[in-house]
């Protein structure tokens, strides 16, 4: 658990995060115009996850919170990752290993 920085420094951090979020938004719009195939999704989600992390760590103060709060936040996103990855592993493998019943 890190301590809150002094007010002047935390103000600088807020504006730096704000700038990074705007740059990330511009980057995600520009990179979407280029055809990268599957990589378009990977880059877009990579930028979105980075922006979300900046918001969680600095605007939502998780960087300075207790471990219990940080673990609670992490558990929520971990559950979301399980939900999507396990479902996708089923959909993506469907028909590739065994034939789909009824087809």
């Amino acid at each position: 658990m890190a301590h809150h920085p002094d007010p002047k420094r935390s103000l600088m951090i807020y504006f730096a995060v704000f700038g990074a979020l705007l740059v990330g938004t511009l980057a995600t719009v520009l990179v979407a115009e280029v055809d990268l195939g599957v990589m378009n999704d990977v880059v877009a989600l990579g930028i979105a996850v980075t922006k979300a992390l900046l918001v969680i760590l600095f605007f939502m103060h998780v960087r300075y919170s207790t471990r219990l709060t940080a673990l609670t936040a992490l558990a929520g996103f971990f559950w979301l990752a399980l939900l999507i990855l396990f479902t996708l592993s089923d959909y993506l493998a469907m028909g590739k290993i065994l034939p789909v019943p009824g087809k």
């Binding site: 995600t28 719009v29 979407a32 979105a48």
Partner: protein, 224 residues
């Protein structure tokens, strides 16, 4: 519950200290946000599954969303997250008038977002892209079964952005309720839990939009 003597007026009797009280409210708010992650998560999963099944229809249907307006709205929400963080910062440096200024700024930016969103919804209505009997895929240049499949994209678009907008409206109500106590000096460096928890909620709603914007608006941009 106000005690005579050494107790801080905002310290409720079930807590030992202001610090413990703050930790409890922050943890409780995060537990609520975890349920919100699950709430939106189900919709994101539905999006992923249907996008996988009908990727070319989703890309074509996404073309009709206005990237400029969506991008401006993303920037507006990021600005509102900054002003929300600055409202809490103002409490930490005991500037009660500045708290009110930043709360109002956050509300104005939130209302700007909703105004732009309403204009986008009206545009979809004009283009017959609201799912239902009047849905017409003519504006999407899709034909036959693909045109009808586009309704799945627009159903997800309206449910996800609509729920997001509903969260914004609730957030605006909570922000409005904080203005009076902030003005009266209820919040300072030692106690500002309601501001902190509202900030957590507002930033979470911002994060939902950070994912909605690329997933809904940008997925077919390079094929334009």
């Amino acid at each position: 519950m106000v005690h005579e003597g050494a107790h801080h007026p905002s310290l409720q009797h079930q807590f030992d200290s202001l610090e413990q009280q703050k930790e409890s409210s922050t943890l409780g708010m995060w537990l609520f946000l975890v349920t919100e992650i699950m709430f939106f998560g189900g919709l994101f999963l539905a999006y992923v599954v249907y996008r996988h099944a009908y990727s070319h229809v989703f890309a074509a249907a996404s073309h009709h969303l206005n990237v400029i307006l969506g991008g401006i709205n993303t920037a507006v929400l990021i600005c509102s997250s900054l002003t929300m963080a600055l409202a809490i910062w103002s409490a930490q440096v005991n500037r009660r008038k500045l708290i009110v200024v930043f709360l109002i700024a956050t509300m104005l930016l939130g209302m700007t977002f909703l105004g732009i969103k309403a204009f986008e919804y009206w545009d979809k209505y004009e283009s017959h892209l609201i799912p239902g009997p009047n849905f017409s895929p003519a504006a999407l240049h899709l034909h036959g079964a693909d045109g009808q499949t586009a309704q799945i994209f627009y159903s997800l678009y309206f449910i996800m952005t609509g729920l997001h907008a509903l969260h914004m409206i609730i957030g605006l109500g909570v922000l409005a309720a904080l203005i009076r106590p902030s003005w009266k000096g209820r919040y300072d460096a030692s106690y500002h839990n309601p501001l902190e928890c509202t900030g957590l909620y507002w930033h979470f709603v911002d994060i939902v939009w950070i994912f909605l914007f690329p997933l809904l608006y940008l997925l077919g941009a390079h094929a334009r």
